[in-house]
């Protein structure tokens, strides 16, 4: 360590005396890292022994009143303190910048998650047990929001970041951790010790230590001071650290003075980095802007606290550390390795990965040896994971090890969901839901299990707001409304803006809303979080990501629209699946219709459509012989591409690129249905004539019976994509089918019949009429003659009997499910 300190240009003696000065202060400071079980264990001991009258905790000052609810016996972690701020009078000048419109007040919120072994939670519980008061000393998050200077847009991080808690920039670390990671000291230490991550470094240095509480405190304090002294001062200045520390000091001094307490009667629990704040700093902390502040405690989940959720709350394995915490408290630390390994292998077996007890032995031995080689007395999570992969994965971990990795994630993270005492009252999201129902005049559905149908025209502002609200509920799967009629695709018809909904009250609504609390304290926040997570999850799927963009528009989330639009670009570039790209194109074309109405950036949208089109064309031959379950998606994608080409309103859409790839796919395809579709599309594009297309149909007449039976599938493929070519080439098509049916033997005909029927069922009425007229002409039937054909010269009873037989045949045919 001394070498590392020297290499980081630190004076070791000066460092030690600076640490001594803080640790020997009359006011007792204890450094923590959020969600560290080892810190919590030491802290619990220290508080129990020192029995202070007041414990200052780095928690949000605005949530001071919530502490009794956090420590209530009915409350079970994981939980989170949620704090939100609404700038009602636009005192920060961010309306329209941090909110969708100038007349909508910007809202900011942040989460402070707490686990059973979070040092802050343990401090609160222990203080409660010994009768000490807990005071939150952290600066309210909204005091850090920068005012608009009217020349620059709001930095995106300001809107949602909470100091030292959930960082939504997906860095995976809290801001304090980031400062440490960036410090010269840590960088040098990681290089020398070979730490691959900050988590590995932390666990090696502090989580598996056997040091007593005071020794631990000194080691952590020294580490944090070395990091602070080698951090970028600009970062500390810009990220709000100094402002927050000023608030710490002010709160502590005022409280001690007001309560007439000596410093020795109190203690401070805060991030190790803050232990070395400037005690001589006389600057006042920034004032909190006026507005509405709301705080509450909500149930949280292990998954949301885990780094895997994308929220970077600073815990990579909540369940693993929970087990460590429980075993530590019962004096069974040595059981952590076998217990975790056994749980993991058990889960792996459930995931379908064969593992044995011998594997368990090998994994524990390997983990211990790895830890030894890496200079650790006890294996940490990294060693265990490496050992599991080495001993149990028989191949590439990204391939053969997928089930194993799933099991590792499952066991590391756990599934626990917290509970909040019922004394706290109705949750904010439920409150928001009822408030919006009332505002939007949906009162008639409240509490009555009666179906209400409504039609909305989104061009009218009131109805647009109602539509947005219903889309949001639908997205959150709140069982209130069903979209019964989707908007059309043409703006000119006006149907683009019309929707029909069915609404019916459901007793499960409130329960479902409570579950959504994990996502946010309001419907909008929950929708934003959920969509945000989905966009991150689906980042490689163009079709799904573009569907998200459409959702973001329907749900009026302008900030997210920009983000999702960017994600669409990446997804389109990343995705090489034809169906997905075709689906993306379909969504983008619809979104393009909305573009003017929604103030979307059309240039970027046009570029996106072009990229999507080009990539879909290149991907097309890959699906030339796709299996039947993909056919519907392929046809839909082909239609999306063809529609864009046939519209011909864009010069940059290269018709030749599309047609050449369709031609390649037709030549390569061994699947009659798809070959029919590709050739049908070429006819639609006028790349081949209707006679040539008919020739392909007729060619089945020249084949053997086992090939001829596929004529129905081929024709179904043709008719699945044909529009005008069927009308224009009806004569030759009818002739080809006629030729085919004449040579087909009865059994062959019966075999191909279901697909032939299915083929004609794909046609619109006008196309059916056109083909029927051709058939009539071919057989010399005039309009008059066809009229005669329909005349029934039998008795009424016989006609009724025939009708009955026809009905029964139809029923039987339906049961056969030919289509």
């Amino acid at each position: 360590m001394r070498n590392v300190l020297d290499a980081a240009d630190l004076d070791v003696d000066a460092l030690a005396s600076q640490v001594d000065a803080v640790l020997n202060d009359d006011l007792y400071w204890f450094p923590v890292r959020h969600h560290s079980a080892a810190v919590a264990r030491c802290l619990e001991t220290v508080i129990s022994e020192r029995k202070p009258k007041v414990v200052f905790v780095e928690g949000p000052a605005e949530a001071q009143e919530l502490i009794p609810f956090v420590t209530d016996s009915q409350t079970k972690p994981p939980i989170a303190i949620y704090s939100s701020y609404r700038d009602d009078n636009n005192v920060l000048g961010l309306a329209g910048i941090a909110s969708p419109a100038a007349d909508i007040p910007p809202r900011f919120g942040c989460w402070y998650p707490l686990l059973a072994y979070s040092p802050e939670y343990v401090a609160m519980q222990t203080a409660n047990r010994i009768g000490a008061d807990v005071i939150f000393i952290d600066l309210p998050h909204h005091a850090l929001i920068k005012r608009s200077d009217k020349t620059s847009a709001l930095p995106s991080s300001v809107s949602t970041d909470a100091p030292d808690t959930v960082d939504r920039k997906h860095s995976g670390h809290t801001p304090s951790d980031e400062l440490i990671i960036e410090s010269g000291f840590y960088q040098r230490l990681a290089e020398v010790a070979g730490y691959r991550s900050w988590n590995e470094a932390w666990d090696s240095l502090f989580e598996i230590t056997n040091a007593d509480a005071e020794q631990f405190r000194r080691e952590l304090a020294t580490f944090c001071l070395a990091a602070r002294l080698t951090s970028d001062p600009r970062h500390i200045q810009n990220d709000g650290t100094l402002e927050r520390e000023r608030h710490f000091l002010k709160t502590i001094r005022e409280t001690l003075s007001r309560r007439k307490l000596k410093p020795q009667q109190a203690m401070v629990v805060c991030g190790g980095f803050h232990l070395f704040l400037d005690r001589d700093d006389q600057t006042a902390p920034p004032p909190c802007p006026e507005g509405t502040v709301y705080t509450t405690v909500v149930p949280y989940s292990y998954f949301r606290i885990s780094e895997l959720s994308g929220y970077g709350a600073g815990n990579r394995a909540p369940q693993y550390y929970q087990t460590a915490w429980e075993l530590m408290r019962s004096g069974r630390e040595q059981d952590l390795l076998p217990e975790h390994v056994v749980a993991l292998l058990k889960r792996a077996r459930r995931e379908g990965h064969a593992t044995s007890a011998a594997d368990g032995v090998a994994v524990t031995q390997h983990a211990r040896m790895l830890a030894g080689l890496r200079g650790r007395a006890t294996p940490i999570l990294d060693d265990i994971e490496d050992a599991v992969i080495t001993c149990c994965c028989k191949g590439n971990p990204d391939d053969e090890g997928v089930a194993l990795r799933r099991a590792i994630d499952f066991i590391n993270i756990g599934t626990k969901v917290g509970k909040v005492t019922s004394k706290l009252g109705r949750l904010p999201i439920v409150h928001d839901f009822f408030a919006q129902l009332s505002d939007l005049d949906f009162g008639e559905v409240l509490g009555h299990e009666r179906l209400v149908k409504i039609e909305l025209d989104k061009r009218k502002p009131d109805e647009e707001r109602r539509s947005v609200f219903l889309h949001r509920l639908r997205f959150l799967e709140v069982p209130l409304a069903v979209l019964t009629e989707m908007p059309g695709t043409e703006a000119s018809s006006g149907l683009l803006f019309r929707e029909r909904w069915s609404l019916k009250w459901n007793p499960k609504i409130e329960t479902h809303l409570v579950e959504q609390t994990l996502l946010g304290d309001s419907i909008e926040a929950a929708v934003l979080s959920k969509l945000h997570e989905m966009v991150a999850t689906d980042s490689q799927h163009a079709g799904v990501t573009c569907a998200h963009l459409r959702r973001a528009l329907d749900m009026d989330l302008p900030h997210l629209v920009v983000e999702v639009q960017a994600a669409c670009g990446s997804a389109v570039d990343a995705d090489a699946q034809f169906v997905s790209l075709g689906s993306a194109l379909g969504h983008l074309v619809v979104i393009d219709r909305y573009a003017v109405y929604r103030n979307l950036r059309r240039t970027e949208l046009a570029d996106l459509i072009l990229r999507c089109f080009d990539r879909a064309c290149f991907a097309l031959p890959d699906v030339a012989s796709a299996p039947p379950e993909q056919h519907a998606g392929i046809i839909s994608a082909l239609q999306s591409l063809a529609e864009l080409v046939l519209r011909g309103d864009r010069d940059d859409i290269d018709r030749n690129v599309f047609s050449s790839h369709v031609r390649t796919a037709a030549a390569q395809s061994t699947v009659p249905f798809l070959r029919g579709a590709f050739l049908g599309l070429l006819a639609e594009l006028r790349e081949i004539t209707s006679d040539e297309l008919a020739g392909h149909v007729a060619s089945f007449a020249q084949t053997s019976a086992d090939q001829m039976v596929f004529a129905g599938e081929f024709l179904e493929g043709v008719l699945a994509v044909s529009r005008t070519s069927v009308m224009l080439g009806a004569e030759s098509l009818v002739a080809a089918i006629d030729q085919l049916l004449k040579v087909a033997e009865w059994n062959v005909f019966l075999t191909m019949l279901p697909r032939l029927r299915a083929a004609f069922e794909r046609l619109h009425d006008r196309q059916v009429d056109s083909l029927a007229a051709c058939v009539a002409r071919k057989y010399g039937l005039t309009e008059h003659a066809t009229d005669q054909l329909t005349e029934l010269s039998t008795s009424v009873a016989a006609a009724a009997l025939l009708a009955d037989i026809d009905r029964r045949v139809a029923e039987i045919m339906r049961k056969w499910s030919f289509s």
Partner: protein
């Protein structure tokens, strides 16, 4: 079949005085100075029969600080160079496995350095990397266990002196590491002869009633390699799989490292062929970029492209670099150009499946053409490749 068998129980490392007229020297000879320097400084506990401690072996493989050591009676500073480029934790896991009950199977795409790592591990742990069995479809159980001198058997009958030990037996007697290359090329029956060797640590010799068991000394273990492209051909049995810890060696993860490897290895090969040609870094950068992007099916700006059916390992890139140098020397201007790279690329990418031509065509159309607009190197690469592809 047995590739090379050292004399019975002789696992003494060759010294650097071994003749340098060989085309290729084993690792323990090439890096004898580094191994000796590490040995002189090694203060840590070693597993039984190991020549170095796990931490010293780690330093030998991934490189470390230069060490002052006495080599051939003279004190000097010996640099400890990096032998394996990639994730260091893979090497840690490999070393730990070799010190445990289980054998080690290095698995990965061709050209990812499995044999290279295996050779260096054996050299550092046992002092010899030549106790090797090369797995093929023709490998038999005798190659793995032992065989007999038939002429002497006829004359004298089975005696220990008439037995020809396999590399396995030599490794067992000396407490050394056996290298088993391409294990999945062997048929399953032959592979399974390893089961008893790995679990009982012994070979039974029923022909010798008085000396019918050869027991392995501590330190004996097996490092096998398998090509992931061969998976499913001669899949290891469940019993054998259980006795191996698998370590997957991925293709080099970052471009910078790959360029370094290509530069270093192609430089060595060019020197070996005595070619007065130098490949400039921008050309190597271009070569590494093309390989990476086609291999990953994704360009640096995030565009997905088709992947070929062949593996584009770093070894292949080194091959293209050497071919380009040879082409430039004998048929070109003497300096390797982007056009030379383009000309020699096709053979590396299009091997078994002519569909791979379309992969190159797509890359040239979608990626290289765009870059050619602003970059002369890419323009030459694109134009040459377009001409070659027709």
């Amino acid at each position: 079949m047995a590739k090379k068998a050292s004399p019975a129980a002789d696992t003494t490392p060759p010294t650097s005085s071994t003749t340098s007229e060989q085309v290729r020297e084993p690792a323990e000879v090439r890096y004898a100075d580094q191994l000796e320097a590490l040995r002189q400084h090694d203060q840590e506990a070693k597993p039984r029969s190991w020549r170095l401690s796990p931490r010293a072996i780690m330093a030998y493989i991934v490189g470390g600080k230069p060490l002052s050591a006495e080599i051939n009676g003279k004190k000097r500073e010996v640099p400890i160079t990096r032998k394996f480029f990639g994730d260091d934790s893979l090497v840690e896991r490999a070393i730990v496995t070799l010190a445990s009950e289980r054998a080690l199977l290095l698995v990965g795409e061709p050209g990812t350095g499995k044999s290279w790592l295996s050779e260096h591990l054996a050299a550092a742990i046992s002092g010899t990397s030549t106790l090797t069995i090369q797995g093929t479809a023709g490998t038999t159980e005798e190659h793995i266990k032992y065989s007999w001198n038939i002429a002497r058997i006829i004359a004298e009958g089975p005696t220990p002196q008439n037995m020809i030990p396999s590399p396995t037996m030599v490794a067992m007697r000396g407490g050394a590491l056996l290298r088993f290359e391409e294990i999945t090329r062997c048929v399953p029956d032959v592979q399974d002869s390893l089961v008893s060797i790995l679990s009982d640590k012994a070979i039974a010799i029923p022909e010798l009633p008085d000396a019918n068991m050869i027991w392995a000394k501590p330190g004996f273990n097996v490092i096998a390699t398998a090509n992931s492209r061969d998976q499913g051909v001669n899949e290891l049995s469940a019993a054998l799989k259980r006795r191996f810890n698998y370590i997957h060696i991925p293709i080099v993860a970052d471009q910078k490292t790959e360029v370094e490897i290509v530069q270093q290895r192609s430089g060595e090969l060019i020197a070996q062929y005595e070619l007065p040609v130098k490949i400039n870094p921008p050309i190597l950068q271009l070569l590494a970029t093309v390989f990476r992007e086609i291999r990953q099916g994704k360009t640096s700006d995030g565009t997905s492209i088709k992947k070929p059916s062949t593996t584009l390992s770093t070894a292949e890139a080194i091959g293209v670099a050497l071919d380009s140098a040879l082409h430039a020397k004998f048929f070109g201007s003497g300096a390797v150009s982007p056009g030379d790279v383009a000309r020699n690329l096709i053979g590396s990418i299009v091997k078994e499946d002519t569909e791979d031509l379309n992969v190159l065509k797509e890359y040239n159309t979608l990626v290289a053409r765009k870059r050619a607009l602003n970059d002369k190197s890419w323009k030459e690469f694109h134009d040459t490749l377009a001409t070659q592809l027709g």
